[in-house]
Symmetry: C2
Subunit: 620 residues, 2 copies
């Protein structure tokens, strides 16, 4: 039953031989790799609006300048990453580039930043997608958390199934989104030309989202808005991580796709921002600014709803990119010993199931803790991404310096400029958003780096402890073990266990812990009447406090101390196994507790104590 | 550390020899046994008010008639139970009386009813106590669930500590409550005499708790109100259950205490109801009727707050009586095999810890599910109690019939009248409250009875399967077992495990599941180079779907099939034990999963497979 449900939801297991690379054409690669970057205009636009509206019309008039600064950074970043593509044709993620060129610490810091940003990308994309949907259907606004969690569940299950067909499926929402928004911008330009500019003052006065008292436009306000809007740049590095999935010549195709993506992003971002400002569009409290723009242009027509659905879909696909990236990085790091080994395991369906589950859990927690509110999550976002960008590009500078090929100076200068720009952006984001939430990430990154190293040290230590290097293992000198066996009476389970004990040892002690005073004497009599005393001694141990495990373990220690063997006695545990799982509730779990206690109890001589489990299967 | 916290919260363990009966004087016995009955006026009054206020002043005018009917039932019930005290001086709970005189089924039905009512008594008392507190401090109204859960936690911890000193402590709230309310009633009579009657019409018109349209006073309305008010009678049987704790002559003392309790209850209940009606007191939506009465008499003076605190305290003590009764019944039933044996275990502090924990959990769930609202819980209450009363008194009739001592006919008639009256009350409660929640209990009781029997059958069956009756156990004919051992490589843990295996068997097979194609060949070479092939064969098993446990178990089955032994091979598992618990997260839990899989997998010949665990303790 459970197996059938499992197969239905997650699909049948795939053999290892099914693993293999499918290379993608540029159209399809763009659909797979760009949604993180393209969809980010949905929340970046919103953040720029929210950042400036507190200063009223005077503030909103700065929209296009802020957007232009971000677009400038985008162009610089894209050019810089195109060089990374050329230098790392096997995929140059920030973790790899920083680690190879700047050392382990830089690699780990970049990795910590990236992991945090993958988590936030999924959380922000999903909540922003729900906001787009709820803008069209206001009744859904109250259920944002539930809807976001439902979408998360669907994405998680799809990813656990394996996303081999996903390149094809992704094409639909990505190109639907591109088409809808490009059409919207074109039509918007037509409207703008025919109707002329709107009045921001009038618009702001009419919206309940604006504060009653405006704060003045300061440099700090503009920088903080820039920080929030710069979340548009997250996901830009995706193509440079994935050069090997392009058809040959992979480098050329990847660079072309990168340039296309940057151009599309610039058009979408600047286009929507300029139209919003020129037409003086403002949003109410339960609507996104992109929804308000679409409504201004199309009214509440089917085209408007199409735009909202397209936004939702592309944001879901954007959240999904985290489900590709996060498990890939965690598996790489697990391979290097910086994260638990289980993250390296390829599941039934040839995906890193554990990484997917960890990500889903963390994203779900974020959505619940931040009440499904994109705006609350944004200050945590971008810190990690800009940290990774800076380290990755600084790593590229070191790379060129090391290599000194033709024209290395120009290349180093471009990457250096990129590193400098993102470092400045990082500083701006970190400072201006610090008290709003960025401090969480600033605190988390060093803690994560410490954790990574701690885990690595543990594995290294285990390796040393287990290593046989330089030794010839000795086997065979040991005498058969003495056996100590807890008994609660005389019954078939005990007889079966005694039988087994007798087959491997000539020295067997049964131990009875006397919970009720007087019960021991009765057992001794029964033991003798069945002739069991010829097979095993019976020790009766008192238990004044009615506990079982403590007195038994003390008796085991006492018996060990009496013997001078090198090897501690083996404990043999007769255990019932009920026929049905629910029946477990009807039996004391003494055997289970005893096994745990023995496993975690170091023997006083530092030697290992073997534990033998003799199950007795009940039939009904 | 954990040990110290444990001792601080729950106290140090007590030896079995500390068990012993402390007999109580009547004053103290009344304090211990009566709170369940006395405190119930807090919610019974409230329910009568809520039941009648929907019919306006005309409805509330029936308050004293309803209360009188309930008081009549109380007198009859008390007289009936005084006979039970005489007949069962060792304690005649409904379970015992019904089982002995009417057979097992009746006993189980009574037990099911009692268990449900103990749970509801605790939930209702706690929520009613919180309502009394929140009537005085309205700001607490919003936090009723949290406060009720906090009180529950405190009671649970105190009970887990053991309540040996509790008789003394309980005297304070019970006599504080009695004094406060007796004074209040006396003062109320003075006020009533000096001020004359109030107008119910005026009062109802002024309260927001009354509906805008009144429904007419019907027989059904009165019967339903009677049902709700009859919850006042829960807890009346407590004294008859506990005859042995009285000082000699126990029967006389218990009967005297029973009569005193009934008299006090009648005074408190009728006194408050009559005063409320005469003074035309009504309550607002966030206040109890008792609070409104106290406020009417004392204003918002310290005396008023004292009355509310006294009500809260006595209700806490009333909830606590469930913590004495529930674990006692569950341990009796566990002794008879009708409930899991763990409920019989006497904990560290000489209390039935498991019963206390189960009760606390169920009460907590009820409080959360019913949102801490007494009024929603009431329809579930009383069904169980009246069922148990009816069966217990019918049992007494059968008892007298059997015994036929002097004057048996009169005694049988009195118990018969009691049984009839409670049966009629049961019918009224069951029908009039059916759709409001009584159906849950009506459904639950037969299900519980089925469960009890199912559990008893299970234990009986296990007893038969384990029994050695009529057999002479055979021990010693078995040859040493073959050993099969999963390995993941060659390291110290494996060497240690091989050493152990070699000491008890001459036939050892190591099994390597090849997760990555090609890794098997490398291991074979290493195995030979260390000379391990002289000790154990090495089988390489492919795993096309990268799973470990399935292919290993298949190989074990294959090896068993190859051998004609009577006894299946022993599986020996080398297992790491990390030095610190958190490090478990860093290792695959394969050994654990494998042990579980082996324990639950029946060997195909129906024989038991022994599992040996060889832990390798990591040092850091």
């Amino acid at each position: 039953m459970a197996h059938h449900v499992r197969t239905l939801v997650f699909g049948s297991p795939l053999p290892t031989t099914a693993l293999g690379e499918t290379r993608l054409g540029n159209i399809r690669a763009l659909a797979v790799l760009s949604p993180g970057a393209l969809a980010s205009i949905a929340y970046a636009n919103q953040e720029i609006f929210l950042g400036l509206v507190v200063a009223g019309a005077a503030g909103l008039a700065y929209s296009w300048e802020v957007a232009l600064a971000i677009t400038g950074l985008l162009v610089l970043l894209s050019a810089s990453y195109m060089q990374t593509i050329a230098a790392y044709p096997s995929g140059g993620g920030s973790y790899t580039v920083a680690r190879e060129n700047l050392g382990e610490l830089a690699g780990l810091v970049a990795a910590a930043g990236l992991l945090i940003d993958y988590i936030l990308n999924a959380a922000v994309s999903l909540t922003a997608g729900v906001a787009a949907l709820a803008s069209a259907f206001p009744a859904l606004w109250a259920h944002r958390v539930a809807i976001a969690l439902l979408l998360l569940l669907i994405i998680t299950v799809l990813n656990l199934r394996g996303m081999r067909e996903v390149g094809t499926v992704m094409i639909v929402p990505v190109y639907l989104f591109l088409t809808t928004y490009l059409v919207m911008i074109a039509y918007g330009i037509f409207v703008a030309l025919s109707q002329g500019p709107g009045s921001l003052e009038t618009a702001v006065a009419s919206t309940p989202a604006a504060p009653s008292v405006f704060i003045p436009v300061t440099i700090f306000l503009l920088l903080r808005t820039f920080s929030s809007g710069a979340t548009a740049l997250t996901g830009v590095e995706a193509i440079s991580n994935a050069v090997p999935i392009f058809k040959p010549v992979a480098i050329r195709n990847a660079q072309k796709t990168m340039a296309t993506m940057a151009a599309l992003m610039a058009i979408l971002f600047m286009g929507t921002i300029l139209l919003t400002e020129y037409l003086a569009v403002v949003a109410g409290p339960n609507e996104t600014i992109l929804s308000a723009l679409a409504r201004r242009l199309f009214g509440t027509s089917p085209v408007y709803f199409l735009a909202q659905i397209a936004t939702l879909l592309v944001l879901i696909v954007a959240a999904n990119t985290s489900f590709a990236g996060f498990p890939r990085i965690t598996s790489l790091m697990a391979e290097d010993g910086f994260l638990p080994r289980q993250l390296r395991i390829v599941g039934d369906r040839l995906v890193f199931s554990n990484g997917i589950l960890v990500l889903a859990l963390l994203v779900g927690m974020l959505i619940v803790l931040f009440e499904g509110d994109t705006h609350l999550l944004i200050p945590l976002f971008a810190v990690g991404a800009f940290l990774a960008y800076t380290l990755s590009q600084a790593g590229m500078v070191a790379h060129w310096w090391e290599e000194r090929g033709s024209g290395w100076l120009t290349k180093a200068a471009l990457n250096g400029l990129g590193a400098l720009a993102t470092a400045v952006a990082l500083l701006i984001v970190g400072v201006s958003k610090f008290i709003h939430g960025a401090w969480i990430v600033v605190l988390l990154i060093p803690l994560l780096v410490l954790l990574f190293r701690h885990i690595r040290d543990h594995y290294a230590h285990v390796g040393r402890e287990l290593s046989l290097a330089g030794e010839t293992p000795q086997i065979g000198g040991m005498a058969p073990s003495r056996i100590i066996m807890p008994v609660a009476g005389v019954h078939r389970g005990v007889i079966q266990a005694l039988n087994y004990a007798n087959s491997i040892s000539r020295d067997i002690t049964a131990v009875f812990v006397e919970l009720e005073p007087g019960s021991g004497a009765a057992l001794v009599e029964k033991w003798q009447s069945y002739g069991l005393d010829r097979i095993a001694r019976l020790d009766i141990v008192p238990s004044p406090y009615r506990s079982l495990i403590g007195p038994f373990l003390d008796e085991v220690d006492r018996l060990d101390a009496e013997n001078s063997d090198d090897w501690p006695a083996t404990v043999l545990i007769p255990e019932f196994v009920p026929a049905h799982a629910w029946q477990f509730l009807l039996h004391n779990q003494t055997a289970l507790l005893l096994k745990w206690a023995l496993l975690y109890r170091r023997h006083r001589y530092g030697k290992t104590r073997a534990v033998i489990d003799i199950p007795f299967h009940l039939e009904k």
